[in-house]
Amino acid sequence: MIAVRDFTYTYPAAPRPALIDINLEIAPGQFVGVVGANGAGKSTLCYALSGFIPDFYRGDVKGSLSVAGRDLCKTPVAELAGEVGLVFANPFNQITGARFTVREELAFGLENLGRPRDEMVARVDEALRLTGLTELADRSPYALSGGQQQRVAIASVIVLRPKVLVLDEPTSQLDPVGAREVFETLDALTGEGATVILAEHKLEWIAAHADRVIALRGGRVAADGTPREVLADASAEELGLMPTRYTLAARLAATQGVVKRDGPLPVTLDEAREFFGGRQREGA
C-alpha cells in the first residue's frame, strides 16, 4: 500500500534534514503508530505520507514515496484527496467555516471533487454513521465539543474514502473524554479495514490498538515492530518515550523480586494480567 524508499527530506533553509533515509513498507489495513520525542519528525513523516511534501512544504527531497503505486512527490495535494487523508491536532483549524451544518461540512470535499449529489448524500450518511455523528448532522460544526469537532474533521476526510488515513496527534488538544471518542472512532474505522497511520504521544492507547509501532529519533527510524517489541524495550526511554504504566509496574515488580522476569515486559492491560497472573500461579 505505502512504499517509502531512501526518503530524506530537508525543510527550506533548515540546517539538517528532518527525515533521514526512511525505508518503509506498509501493508493495506495495517494500523501503524508513529512515536518519538518532540522534534523527532513525526509530523514531517505525516506530511510526507499525505503528499504535502514537496507540494506544500518545499525544500529538498531525496528518494521516493508512493501510495498504491502513485508517486506522492509528483502529485499535487488536491489531486490526492481520494488517496490519502490528513487529520491535524487542532479540530478548530480543520472546520472550513464556510458550511452551516455538520452534514454540509462533510460534503465540502466531495463538492470540490465534483461528485454527483446522490452519491454525496449516501457517502456523507455513511461517514456520519462511521464516526457516530448521525445525531449531530444538522448542528453547526462550531456548536460542538472538541472531541465531536475532531470526529467531524476525521469524518470530513474519510468521506473522500482515502486509501490511507494519516492523523497527526488528533487527541493532543482534547480532554480524556474527547480523546476516547476519537480513539473509539479510529477503532471502528480499522475494523472496516482502513489503513491508518497515527502519530501519537499517548502510548497506552497505541500499545493496545496498533498492529505496528514505528519509533523515530532525530529523523531516523530507530525502532519498528509490534507495540510490545518497541515499547517494552529497555531502549524505549532513550527514544524519549515514556513507557506505559503496565511496563513500569511490571519492571518495578521484577526488580523488587515480586515476580520473576522472563520474556518481554507487558505494554497493555491484557499482557500485564498475563504477566502477573501467570507468574503468581507458578509461585503458588
Binding site: F56, V77, G85, L86, N93, T96, N112, G114, M120, D138
Partner: protein, 261 residues
C-alpha cells in the same frame, strides 16, 4: 439554527427565500443608489425608503438598526465635530467662543455619514438575510474566480477564529496574573500580551488551515457540485436584469441631478 460564524439570521421571510444572487443584486442596487444620488439627502432617501422597508420585509429590522447605529454613530459624531469645527473658510452657523460650526462642514459631514450608513446597512441587509455559504456556492456556479470565493471564505472564518483564540489567550494570561481590570493605562498595557500571540498564532494557523482545505481538494481545478440546492426562478433572473438596468438609470439620474444643481 443560529450560527457562531456569521450574522445570518434565519427567518421565514420573502427575502430569505430569494436566490443569493438576487439578494446580492438588490443590495448592490441600494449601494449604488446611495452613492450615486447627490448630496446630503441622497443616501438618506435610499436608507429610509429602500433599505429599512427591505429589512422590515426580511424581518430583521431591529437587528439591522442596532448594528448599523453601533457602527455609524461613532463615525457620525466624530465627523460632525471635526468637519463642522475645522472647515476652513465656510459660513459659520453657530459660534462657540473662539470656535464656530461651519455650514459647509456640516453639509459635508451629513453627506459622508449618510454614505457610511447606506454602505454599512446594505452589507448588513445582505449578511442578515443571506447564508454566506449559499452566496459562495452561487458565485462559484457562475464561474467566479477561486481567489474571490476563498477571500469570502477566509473573511467569514476570521471572526470566530479571533474570538476563540482571544478567549483562550486571555484566560491563559489571566491565569498568569494579567490585569484585565483597572485603569485605562493598565488595560492598554494588558492588551499587548493578548494581541501579540493572537496575531502570531493566527499566521501559523493560516498554514494549517490552508493544508486542511487542500486535503479536501479545495484548490482542485475542474467543476464542483454542491449538497445545498439553490432555487432560482425565471422571475428572479428577470428581476436581476431589471436591477442592473436600474443601477445604470440611478447613476444617470445622479449625474443629471448634480449637473442641474
Amino acid at each position: 439554527m443560529t450560527n457562531a460564524f456569521s450574522l445570518y439570521t434565519p427567518r421565514a421571510s420573502a427575502l430569505h427565500r430569494l436566490h443569493p444572487l438576487t439578494m446580492l443584486a438588490l443590495v448592490v442596487f441600494c449601494l449604488v443608489a446611495g452613492l450615486a444620488l447627490p448630496g446630503p439627502w441622497g443616501p438618506y432617501v435610499v436608507f429610509l425608503l429602500l433599505i429599512l422597508p427591505l429589512a422590515a420585509l426580511g424581518q430583521v429590522l431591529p437587528n439591522l438598526l442596532s448594528t448599523a447605529v453601533k457602527i455609524a454613530l461613532p463615525f457620525a459624531i466624530s465627523v460632525f465635530l471635526i468637519q463642522g469645527l475645522f472647515w476652513t473658510g465656510g459660513t459659520p452657523v453657530v459660534e462657540l467662543g473662539p470656535l464656530s460650526l461651519k455650514r459647509e462642514g456640516l453639509w459635508f459631514a451629513a453627506q459622508s455619514t449618510g454614505r457610511v450608513l447606506t454602505v454599512v446597512s446594505s452589507f448588513l441587509l445582505l449578511s442578515l438575510t443571506t447564508r454566506p455559504d449559499a452566496l459562495m456556492i452561487a458565485l462559484d456556479q457562475r464561474g467566479a474566480p477561486k481567489t474571490l470565493t476563498y477571500i469570502v471564505l477566509a473573511t467569514i472564518q476570521i471572526a470566530p477564529r479571533f474570538q476563540a483564540k482571544a478567549r483562550t489567550i486571555l484566560d491563559a494570561q489571566r491565569a498568569r496574573g494579567l490585569e484585565t481590570e483597572g485603569s485605562v493605562g493598565r488595560r492598554v498595557a494588558a492588551l499587548l500580551p493578548l494581541v501579540v500571540p493572537l496575531v502570531l498564532g493566527s499566521i501559523i494557523d493560516i498554514e494549517e488551515r490552508a493544508m486542511a482545505l487542500d486535503a479536501r481538494a479545495f484548490s482542485r481545478s475542474g467543476p464542483k457540485t454542491s449538497l445545498l440546492t439553490l432555487r432560482d426562478t425565471s422571475a428572479q433572473r428577470a428581476g436581476r436584469w431589471l436591477l442592473l438596468l436600474g443601477m445604470i438609470a440611478v447613476v444617470a439620474l445622479g449625474i443629471w441631478l448634480r449637473r442641474a444643481a
